[in-house]
Amino acid sequence: MAKSSPNPESSQETALIEWIFGIISACLVLAMIGWVCWQALSSTGGKPLLSIEIINQTQQGPSFEVEFLIKNDGPMAAAGVTVQGELMANGQSLENREVVFDYVPAHSEMDGVLLFKNDPKTSEMDIRASGYTDP
């Protein structure tokens, strides 16, 4: 095509880089579509699968911090996930604390903290997700 052509959409001199970008982009989009397609085919539906892992316990001033990870190993996101922590001594409940996560996405993890008045190391601690809604 003529070099004098002013329209970038019809000049071939500059087209090489355009084609390189174009082909790389098309490959990326195709790869993405392939991945999503595979996800769509392999997902069988299901429910959130929540679990809690305690990762750290520290004392901050008057309160005891228990830092935890909430994991969702299920294929669906959970919304409004309430995590409750209970401290017990001799079978009696000492205190209850709870925190709410707006969302815990599928196959993902979020971290959170519960603050207790009593030292969780000297008592029995139970932390679990106590409920969720569909997003």
Partner: protein
């Protein structure tokens, strides 16, 4: 006599400069009001990661300079003028954000300085872009003598075109990425919905520029097959839109700890407005 006319000229010049600033404020309000009135933006300004905020603020400056170079307050030609205009627009963005946030009682003396600065800084990005866009979109061209004849609406290089698409995508995704709706939509979608959304985004993007012939549309020469422009512009633009969607989601801490697939779905969701923004930028800017 000559003195009188030259002072008249100065008056007119400073007048048109003030009008330019007024349009900048108008543009900042017009384009940033959705963000200024979004709850998530207030809380993000308060707690978002300061490194990411810093990166966003730094990235904004060169974008504003390039925008100013194309559509600045005074049709600037030199890069130093563009830098001056970009700083002015950023300043107008900060000014407008302070006014509006104060009126909304989102800034008060009992807040920490960090919170106040964070809230203003976050808003100033899109308000600054809005200030520049206001100059170009709200302007009454008859006031601008005849220098619009050589305004850069004609041919732009390929990389310039990509840059404009990136700015358009960034602007729209910055507006929408902070909202909870992005992740809620992504969480509710199945893979098939995501695939359909990819198709819709690409079609919207291509259609916006080529098919429906908006003002400033890029007409294809009849001897060129449609897929030439599709690969060279639409595909590249869509990937750019997705990358920028990811960047804004990362900036607003929407991807931390989230699985790859969920992140991808969220990016695809935000990719719809981003690709429309990218396509529109090619027409408008």
């Amino acid at each position: 006599m000559a003195q009188a006319s030259s002072s008249n000229d100065t008056d007119r010049q400073s007048n048109s400069y003030l009008i330019g600033i007024g349009r900048g404020i108008g543009g900042a309000l017009l384009f940033a009001i959705p963000m200024l009135m979004t709850m998530e933006m207030w809380s993000l300004g308060m707690f978002m990661d300061r490194t990411r905020l810093f990166i966003l603020l730094i990235v904004t400056l060169p974008l504003l300079v390039v925008l100013a170079h194309r559509i600045g307050f005074e049709r600037t030609l030199s890069w130093s003028d563009a830098l001056r205009d970009a700083c002015l627009a950023y300043g107008i963005g900060i000014f407008s954000s302070v006014i509006i946030l104060t009126v909304f009682n989102q800034l008060s003396p009992d807040m920490s300085l960090d919170e106040i600065v964070g809230k203003i800084a976050l808003q100033s990005v899109s308000a600054g872009m809005g200030a520049l866009l206001g100059r170009s979109q709200l302007g009454n061209d008859s006031l601008e003598d005849d220098d619009d004849d050589d305004s850069p609406t004609g041919d732009v290089g390929y990389l310039d075109e990509l840059f404009l698409m990136a700015i358009g995508a960034l602007f729209l995704s910055l507006n929408i990425a902070p909202t909870d709706e992005m992740i809620v939509i992504a969480y509710k979608m199945t893979g098939w919905h995501a695939l359909a959304l990819v198709v819709v985004s690409v079609l919207a993007m291509h259609g916006f520029v080529y098919a429906v012939c908006f003002k400033g549309s890029h007409m294809l020469s009849p001897d060129m097959p449609w897929w030439h422009a599709f690969f060279r512009f639409t595909m590249v633009g869509y990937v750019l839109a997705l990358l920028i969607s990811f960047y804004t989601l990362w900036t607003f801490e929407r991807v931390d700890g989230v699985s790859y697939t969920q992140v991808l779905y969220t990016v695809i969701v935000l990719g719809l407005p981003a690709s429309i923004g990218a396509a529109a930028a090619r027409l408008i800017l």
